[in-house]
């Protein structure tokens, strides 16, 4: 490929970012054979990752990209808009996909019936396309469309766990019902906005809605969108679909969804709250302080306490996710540059932590077939690399220095103290101290207990260990040198709050 063709492609990367995985999905379906589908899905993920990295680079160098789909100008056609905020989310989504896919072959072979492999990878590609689409698009209704693609495909990903545990089906059904309610609320909100503004383009909305701060219809739209996205991102107490879905989905599905899907919903909430509604005072601004903030705080503590009492480690991590989402929403609820920086930073960091942890759990699932406290007993000796990866991820979750978790905590607490919100800082600290308890339960079981009688297991295969460790090392790497992530998060936060990035 010559340089000229390459530079010819670059302007169209925003479209390719979504179109490639979207078109790949039916192709994958036609390929049928599991291993071929796997190879294909892996290549597509890597291509998407490369695309997102180029886009991030372009955005950081030249500022916001606006791309008109099919050449139709903005208010009529659909526009893709990429700034620092969604560029980093694109990198997270496709990056996690690229790490999970190489890992998936062995894990999927062990967990899903052979005749469903092709379908599983197809659903994964659709989910990837949907998540990337939600993130990249600059059109409110298009967000809904991609949200539905994501949701429908993730129900499939969750229910694919039925081969191991039939409860995956009820988990997926529950997720389907609540996810649909969330998406419906969202589209009602978008419809109401369209009613009063006559546009669906997010940039146009952001110019017209602030003038309607006191319009009752806008208030209702705001409420529908916040609640709808609250359901999607599993904000406490709308999180009830999440623990079962994460517990019964196949390991790869859980790792991918946990690290990406709620993050994308957090991004949509960020975009609508601060760009479309941009509340400065009144009803909507108060929502931040009196609804999101308390829910985030309660969620942080309640979900962490719930996690402590879990026996199944997948479910434990799922509750921990609910708590961690509380951290992100907390940063959002501050409404300050510091707060949003912390939220976006944690969005990135948490994807790395949970990705690493769920992949390590997948290794345990493959070898032991049991991811409960009993299953990990004595694994410190029998699967040293897997457990070392898990412990490092756990330390990151606690927020130990030299991991990304520490950077997140540092910025969240700094943001709280900056505004003089001492009690909030105290809750953040309490929640991270509680996290020590549930992580340490697992550490003690793995290192200080003897394996059950007669169980002999080998270390996980390299094809699974390498992706796991890539994410673990990313946890450490971005924990030791966080200049890049902090820089991007700050640029994004300033962009969202309308300051010059």
């Amino acid at each position: 490929m010559t340089g000229a063709t390459l530079s010819g492609i670059v302007p169209h990367l925003p479209a390719l970012q979504v179109v490639v995985p979207l078109l790949a999905a039916p192709v994958c379906f036609l390929l049928r054979r599991g291993v071929i589908c796997w190879g294909f899905a892996t290549l597509v993920s890597w291509a998407a990752f490369a695309t997102s990295l180029v886009l991030l680079q372009v955005v950081l160098a030249d500022g916001t990209i606006r791309y008109e789909m099919g050449g139709w100008a903005a208010p009529w056609g659909i526009e893709y808009v990429i700034d620092a905020t969604n560029a980093i989310v694109l990198v997270i989504v496709s990056g996690i996909g690229s790490a999970v896919m190489p890992y998936a072959r062995r894990s999927v072979m062990a967990e899903i019936p052979a005749n469903q492999h092709g379908l599983y990878y197809t659903a994964y590609l659709l989910c990837l396309a949907g998540l990337l689409g939600v993130t990249i698009t600059g059109d409110a209704f298009n967000v809904f469309v991609f949200l539905e693609i994501t949701s429908l495909s993730s129900y499939i990903l969750v229910s694919a766990g039925a081969g191991m545990d039939r409860r995956a089906l009820t988990a997926a059904y529950n997720y389907l019902v609540l996810g649909t309610v969330g998406a419906t609320f969202f589209v009602i909100g978008v419809g109401l906005l369209y009613m009063v503004t006559g546009t669906l383009n997010i940039i146009d909305l952001s110019e017209r809605v602030p003038a309607l701060q006191h319009n009752r219809t806008v208030h209702v739209a705001f409420a529908f969108i916040v609640v709808g996205m609250g359901l999607k991102l599993a904000l406490f107490p709308l999180h009830t679909w999440l623990p079962n879905a994460y517990t019964y989905a196949p390991s790869t599905g859980t790792a991918f969804l946990a690290a990406t899907s709620t993050k994308v919903s957090v991004y949509v909430l960020l975009r609508f709250l601060f760009v479309v509604f941009a509340p400065s005072y009144g009803f909507m601004a108060l929502t931040l302080d009196y609804v999101l903030l308390p829910l985030a705080l309660i969620g942080m503590v309640a979900a962490t306490v719930a996690a402590i009492y879990q026996y199944n480690i997948k479910r434990l991590l799922a509750y921990s996710s609910v708590a961690q989402i509380g951290y992100m929403v907390l940063g959002i609820a501050y409404g300050s540059v510091e707060g949003l920086t912390a939220a976006i930073l944690h969005l990135f960091n948490h994807a790395l932590m949970k990705g690493a942890l769920f992949l390590a759990l997948g290794c345990i699932m493959l070898r032991v077939g049991d991811v409960t406290m009993r299953g990990v007993q004595g694994l410190g000796r029998q699967m040293p690399w897997t457990m070392a990866a898990f412990v490092t991820g756990g330390l990151s979750l606690i927020g130990v220095p030299l991991t990304v978790g520490f950077i997140s905590k540092w910025y969240l607490i700094t943001a709280a103290l900056d505004d003089g919100r001492w009690p909030i800082a105290a809750v953040i600290l309490a929640s991270s101290l509680l996290a020590i308890i549930y992580v340490w339960k697992i550490v003690e079981a793995a290192y200080l207990k003897e394996p059950p009688e007669g169980r002999v297991v080998r270390e996980a295969p390299l094809s699974m260990l390498v992706p796991t460790w890539v994410l673990v090392l990313a946890n450490i790497g971005f924990g030791i040198n966080a200049e890049f992530t902090v820089g991007v998060a700050r640029t994004a936060a300033m962009g969202l709050l309308g300051g010059a990035p």
């Binding site: 927020g399 130990v400 540092w410 101290l433 003690e444 290192y447 200080l448 966080a482």
Partner: protein, 496 residues
Amino acid sequence: MNPSFLLAVTLLLPLLGAVFMALTGGRPNVREAVTLVTAGLLAAAVYALLQDVLAGGQPTATLVEVAPGLPLVLQVEPLGMLFACVASGLWIINSLYSIGYMRGNGEQNQTRFYICFAIAISSSMGIAFAGNMFTLFIFYETLTLSTYPLVAHKGTDEAKRGARVYLGLLMGTSIGFQMVAIIWTWIAAGTLDFTVGGILRDKIDPTLLPILLALYMFGIGKAALMPFHRWLPSAMVAPTPVSALLHAVAVVKAGVFTVLKVIVYIFGIDLLADTGASQWLIGVAAFTMLAASLVAMTKDNLKARLAYSTISQLSYIVLGAALATSFGILGGALHIATHALGKITLFMCAGAIYVATHKTEISQMDGLGRKMPFTYAAFLVGSLSIIGLPPLAGVWSKWYLAMGAVETGMWIVVAVYMISSLLNVAYLIPVVARGFFRPSPDLVPQSVGAAAAPAKDGVQEAPLLCVLPPCLTAAGCVVLFFYADEVIALLRPIVQ
């Protein structure tokens, strides 16, 4: 060699050693050789840095910028130099001792033990040479984590419980209080660099200073200020070499070292003296000192008694720092070295007794001194040094600490120091006295056939590698008495 490079080497050397220990885990002799060589090289590197510092140098190395404005920086200054010398020097002796103890007791998982030990030493070096509070905090946490497996080493329920308390209290206080204090400082002062004279003057409302100081002091759980002292007795479930080097030297001294760093370089002693923000700390430290001594007297388990003694002695240093005078700071810093030498001797003796006789309770040790004369002689020297009698090193630090109290005119503090010394006599000397003067229970024939019992007055010492190290450190107590002036000369710049 380039000093900045040397500085990074002090951190990397133990880690490199740990890697080699892992690789040679199957061959204990090679593994132990690696430990000793690493310890020797580390001490040499620290010694080379010492020469540089004595010549007035301040080697600095920036490792990485973690986040904007928050770099990982290493910088050598006198206080850290002293701590590094103590930790690296005693690591050699303690490694010899570890070999004797771990083999003598046939402990499990020895490779893990040596690896974690090396990582802990690397963290201690990081604490000693941290150039700002952020760097110090990071290594403070890695020290906690790397010593957790050592405390839980035996894997018994008791060890697990002890290790839980250990981790919970140290992590809890450091995340719950210390990290908040650091972030508060960062927001207020805009920097976390250790600066002579402090960074907080005019940056923070003086009425809030005592609160910030409290967050730091209780946040530094390793200094074992009451009521956050419980982790130290809990940590005594660890094998004795761990108690000796880590819970008499590296970990606890890292705590009081951090206290001194915070008071000297973050607050600045002038600021504390002017505002009286540390007055409350004098009370808390004095209480800890006396209360821990009293508890120590009630403990029959030798290691537990020594642990409470350590809690008490740590508060000597915190109290010296709280006085916010130059003598107090110098005395506190010197006490890091003198107490380290004395206490490691006592712990190694306790371990030697355990290896030789498997006795842990003082009441079982009657008459043991005649069987283990070298161990008990070393124990006596260590005790006397901690009590503070010449010609042993402990006298100098107490001297300076008392001078610091006199300087502030707080005679009651002088009295507290003296009372505490008397309490030291009351809980340490009986151990030796029982060993030498009480009749050994073995002397009382249990039955007529007891004549076949082993030679009653014969010397039955622990293995050489268990006995030699405490004798060396006991000799060190004497040597340091004569060279205390050199140490003071090294430290002098921090209070000028």
